[in-house]
């Protein structure tokens, strides 16, 4: 037995071209010979090597214990080596195509993979969506699935309270669940404006009762009908983003507010018909739980400010507010927000002055991000107050082409420990952007 320093991860004995299997075989053989051989084996190794060989023998023993009745050695399925949360960690690194390749590996793998694959389906081809809906429809008809549990279907809202519902397609009125339904949590249609429509959603949403988040961006055929459907089918909704949905009105939005009691984040940017009645109702109903609200670039039917003031005063847990380009934003409004506010976007709110900055600094000292692009009435004094008061401020966004803010106050920010100070043009901001 050659005696040489260990290099290969504690296997003890270097054997040319060894796979773990052949190494184990070697140890099995070694173990089955007489004590003398073991003794000479041990003596041929140095002081340093011996403990590692011992460890290797112990490990190899473990694996030998997996021998099945026929005496054949079989290595362990990775599924049985790693804890379930680690398997999930690996699966979250895989894209849709890779997950698809994992869904037929074996039954236990399939059960593990399917929630990941179905959590947030996104396909750019309409055909793929058709296939998805078809799967949901077909599997909901059957009582038994080869690997998934059929969830007991709960009565949908339409069965309990038909008085308020308009005429809906028959796919909704039945309690439809496919065993896959429970896994669909997130639908982000933001680049799929050409796929989304009332008709399409009427087929899909009846199968997604656990939907938590939906984003629909500027579709042509998206009306209050879809909001009614969402309210009925998806009571678990937490985040609702409807940028550019110009056909929805207070009626649809009211229905959502009445039926989705778990909402924490609402976005109605670039819209045209939501009025401050909706904002006020929302503020009253969700005062404790609303965290994020985006109403940027909203062309307003009625004066929005009473709505926004109600929002600020009532919603004491707001974390992020985007009111970019809302011309009715005035200084007093900024002082009404609760100190929970961490992010505020008032870009292009042209009526805001230093007074507003001072009010904001006092009301929201925990502010971390402030976008005041094009607030041309704000001077160094306002910015100085914010910088001094908001100790956690890490990003201030403005645009040098407008306004009265000078370098004199901006250069002080680093000395206050503010790490980031950004100019709009660095961010490549485009007109109408609704994000901070």
């Amino acid at each position: 037995m050659p005696s040489r320093p260990l290099e290969n991860g504690g296997r003890g004995l270097e054997i040319a071209g060894a796979t773990p299997l052949s190494t184990d075989q070697h140890f099995k053989d070694a173990l089955s010979v007489s004590t003398n051989s073991i003794q000479s084996l041990a003596e041929s190794l140095s002081e340093l090597e011996l403990p590692q060989v011992r460890a290797a023998i112990l490990e190899s023993n473990d694996r030998c214990n997996l021998v099945n009745p026929e005496g054949m050695h079989r290595a362990k399925d990775v599924y049985d080596i790693l804890p379930p949360e680690t398997l999930d960690h690996i699966l979250t690194c895989l894209d849709r195509g890779a997950l698809f390749n994992c869904v037929t590996l074996s039954k236990q793998w399939s059960r593990r993979v399917i929630p990941h694959l179905w959590r947030s389906p996104w396909m750019s081809y309409y055909n793929a969506w058709v296939k998805l809906v078809r799967t949901l429809a077909i599997t909901s008809e059957k009582t038994h699935h080869v690997i998934l549990q059929q969830h007991p279907s709960e009565p949908t809202l339409s069965e309990r309270d038909d008085s308020q519902s308009p005429c809906l397609p028959s796919t909704v009125t039945g309690a439809k669940t496919s065993p896959y339904s429970q896994f669909v949590l997130l639908l982000d249609f933001s680049s799929l404006y050409y796929i989304v429509s009332d008709a399409f959603l009427s087929q899909l949403l009846s199968f997604t009762p656990n939907l938590s988040e939906i984003v629909v961006n500027s579709p042509k055929q998206f009306s209050d009908d879809s909001l009614l459907l969402l309210g009925k089918c998806c009571p678990q909704l937490r985040k609702l983003e409807l940028p550019g949905c110009t056909r929805i009105t207070d009626k649809g939005f009211f229905f959502i507010l009445d039926h989705c009691s778990h909402l924490v984040s609402i976005g109605l940017s670039n819209g045209t018909r939501i009025s401050d009645r909706s904002i006020q109702k929302m503020a009253h109903m969700f005062s404790g739980q609303l965290q994020s609200f985006n109403v940027s670039n909203a062309a307003l039917v009625t004066g929005l400010d009473p709505g926004l003031t109600t929002l600020a005063i009532w919603c004491r847990n707001l974390v992020s507010v985007n009111m970019a380009n809302c011309q009715l934003v005035r200084d007093p409004l900024l002082g009404h927000f609760s100190d929970s506010l961490l992010e505020l976007n008032i870009a292009h709110c042209l009526e805001v002055t230093d007074k507003g900055m001072v009010a904001l600094a006092e009301a929201c000292p925990r502010l971390r991000v402030l976008d005041m692009t094009a607030c041309s009435l704000v001077t160094d004094q306002g910015v100085y107050t914010i910088g001094q008061s908001c100790q956690g401020l890490r990003r201030l966004v403005l645009d040098d082409r407008y306004g009265r803010v000078t370098e004199e106050v901006l250069v002080q920010f680093p000395s206050w420990g503010k790490e980031v100070l950004q100019r709009r043009r660095e961010l490549g901001w485009k007109s109408g952007s609704s994000r901070v």
């Binding site: 590692q52 460890a55 990775v78 074996s106 396909m123 080869v146």
Partner: protein, 159 residues
């Protein structure tokens, strides 16, 4: 300050405190025990694996401590492994999983992350049959069952 770590096979490893504390488990142990010279036993980790883990922690000793990710979206990527880490992870599959298990036990999130991404990269680009082979998976679907599952999920297929 130097900390002594003892592996399953009773080998002792002396490491600097800041290196050892990349492991949240060890960090908490040190806090509980206080100023003490007694070695910290790690009965779940063999010396070969511990050696690798220590190598990782020493290389990354100056990295900022990872902040708890608060975003709801658990989706991660796997194509952003830095070069040193990639070379570090060029080990046989058995060692790879042992490193992952050790990183999990010792609570070293960046190492766990890199390990999982490495496994994800093994999966990517392979057919189901190839994945089964590499991971020792026994296919317990009948051909009909397998075809059914495949059909139900074919909306996800990369075309």
């Amino acid at each position: 300050m130097t900390i002594t770590l003892t592996s399953l096979d009773n080998l002792e490893f002396k490491v600097d405190k800041d290196v050892a504390e990349r492991s949240v488990l060890i960090k908490n142990m040190i806090e509980d025990v206080g100023e003490s010279d007694s070695p910290i036993p790690l009965p779940n980790v063999t010396s070969a694996v511990l050696k690798k883990v220590i190598e990782y922690c020493e290389h990354h000793r100056h990295d900022p401590v990872p902040v708890q990710d608060e975003s709801d979206d658990p989706r991660k990527r796997s194509n952003d492994i830095e070069e040193w880490d990639m070379k570090f992870m060029q080990v046989d599959q058995e060692m790879l999983f042992e490193i992952i298990l050790a990183a999990n036990y010792l609570d070293i999130k960046p190492l766990l992350d890199v390990g999982c991404k490495t496994v994800a990269n093994i999966i990517k680009g392979k057919t189901p049959e190839e994945i089964r082979k590499v991971f020792n998976i026994v296919n317990d679907f009948t051909p009909e069952e397998e075809a059914q599952i495949r059909k139900e999920n074919e909306w996800a297929e990369d075309r």
